[in-house]
């Protein structure tokens, strides 16, 4: 096993794996009856595959990959709406690169760009602001996408645009929140989850208390974790220890980055600019109550939905997922990516059918990227 070379601290990793095995035995977890631990964040999913943690831990521990990859849960209709905005005369449509290859019902943003729409990949919403300053005769739209980690960046950008009176800048807001889909999964009678690994960088913004309901109302342990392999192993160990001791608490393994109450400036900016939508559509999961954000009326001038009459401000179209694609089942952990009939056939990272194949944070792309290397190594 090339274990030692893969881990910066192999001794710590070995000790944690031994402790995990001991706790798993104590709980009575087996390959047939595993403890199911969901990692919510796509960054964690990527890390778990990169280091093969799912193969290294005791066979009674099963990682269930959660819905925490923002491009993976983006409905196709939203991609179509991006293209609709981008193709309007005078528009410069800006987006994070991750969203470029997400398939819409007919095309992706990348394909629309190739067909002539002015779509530009930017690193930051601040780049979009700068584009608006430099191109006063154009309308610059930023595709606001992501969980609480990215939400403050678009909120602060909108506040800045308001201060400058930049009338040609707007945000197509598709920000989503982490706690609500977890509640939806916990309410699902088919789901069988024993504990959670909580997202690190989202929690750096919101703190650890938004997860209190998981422990209090559903009696499940959750440990907020860093994304280095030993962070993840330690967090698995902490979840198992809670189960073994009959506890259900919110614990913070990543306290070196995650403050208990989050980041005050970020939270204030989010609260100032955004409000909750009554519900929001998630690819694979359907509508989830209060799981998305929209721009408050005070900042309507910077709301692309209002400016262009699309999205929740326009006529909503429900689009079913493509034939034979199992994204929903994979995203809720009911199915492994390889069990999807399209995996590696109709759906590959080069030609993604579902969004879970697009980003390195998506479970299908992670299986694909590291599954081959792993098979060769075994």
């Amino acid at each position: 096993m090339k274990f030692a070379s893969e881990f910066r601290d192999p001794k710590a990793a070995k000790a944690l794996l031994a402790e995990i095995a001991q706790l798993a035995d104590r709980i009575g977890a087996t390959r047939e009856k595993p403890v199911a631990i969901m990692e919510i964040c796509g960054g964690h999913t990527h890390s778990i595959f990169r280091y093969g943690l799912d193969k290294l831990v005791h066979e009674g521990v099963e990682f269930v990959h959660g819905p925490g990859c923002p491009v993976c849960v983006l409905p196709r209709a939203r991609v179509d709406e991006c293209i609709e905005i981008a193709e309007k005369p005078g528009v410069i449509f800006t987006t994070f690169g991750d969203a470029m290859r997400v398939p819409g019902s007919k095309r992706s943003l990348l394909q629309a760009k190739a067909a002539g729409a002015d779509i530009r990949m930017v690193y930051s919403p601040l780049d979009a602001l700068e584009l608006a300053r430099r191109n006063p005769e154009r309308e610059v739209v930023f595709f606001g996408l992501g969980f609480e980690t990215t939400t403050p960046s678009t909120a602060l950008a909108i506040q800045q645009a308001a201060r400058e009176g930049l009338a040609n800048f707007s945000v197509f807001c598709n920000h989503i929140t982490v706690p609500e889909p977890i509640r939806a999964l916990l309410e699902d009678p088919d789901m069988r989850l024993d504990g959670f690994i909580g997202p690190g960088h989202v929690s750096m913004v919101i703190g650890i208390h938004p997860y209190d309901f998981i422990a209090r109302d559903y009696h499940k342990p959750i440990v907020v974790a860093g994304f280095e392999p030993t962070d993840l192993l330690q967090s698995v160990m902490m979840v198992l220890r809670q189960i073994a001791e009959g506890r259900a608490e919110v614990e913070n393994q990543y306290a070196r980055v995650v403050p208990e109450h989050g980041n005050a400036v970020s939270l204030a900016a989010i609260a100032d600019v955004y409000e909750k939508r009554p519900s929001f559509e998630w690819r694979g999961l359907g509508e989830i109550d209060a799981s998305g954000l929209r721009i408050r009326p005070a900042y309507r001038a910077f709301d692309a939905e209002e400016k262009f009459g699309v999205g929740y401000a326009g006529v909503r179209t429900e689009l079913a997922d493509p034939e034979g694609c199992a994204c929903g089942a994979v995203m809720t952990g009911r199915m492994k990516p390889v069990q999807c009939p399209q995996f590696g056939r109709g759906c590959t990272p080069e030609m993604p059918l579902g969004a879970l194949m697009v980003s390195s944070e998506g479970a299908c792309a992670a299986y694909w990227q590291y599954g081959g290397a792993r098979a060769a190594a075994e």
Partner: protein, 96 residues
């Protein structure tokens, strides 16, 4: 997209807009420091921060920065973040 990348704050570029220059793996990038600016901005000089889509989100110590950067390199995320910064620069020039 969801993982921040460590950068060292090397200069304040626009105090009014809370903008600073950060050194991210040898690449210079202007970032917003609103989320980490508690005292005078000068106090940030030389500090390390986790930078996420152009915003310094959390101050970290140098050792944590080095470990995080190493992990991001393993995942290919550091390379991706740097490529995205370059793409952002290109977009501003109208080259992309």
């Amino acid at each position: 997209m969801c993982l921040g990348i460590p950068g060292q704050i090397v200069a304040i570029t626009d105090a009014g807009r809370l903008m600073a220059m950060a050194d991210v793996s040898g690449v210079r990038r202007e970032v917003n420091v609103a989320c980490v600016a508690e005292g005078p901005l000068e106090d940030l000089l030389g500090r390390w921060a986790l930078i996420h889509v152009g915003f310094a989100m959390s101050l970290i110590d140098e050792e944590e920065a080095a470990k995080t950067l190493a992990a991001l390199h393993d995942l290919g995320e550091a390379q991706e973040a740097l490529a995205q910064m370059a793409e952002g620069d290109a977009a501003l020039e109208g080259r992309a």
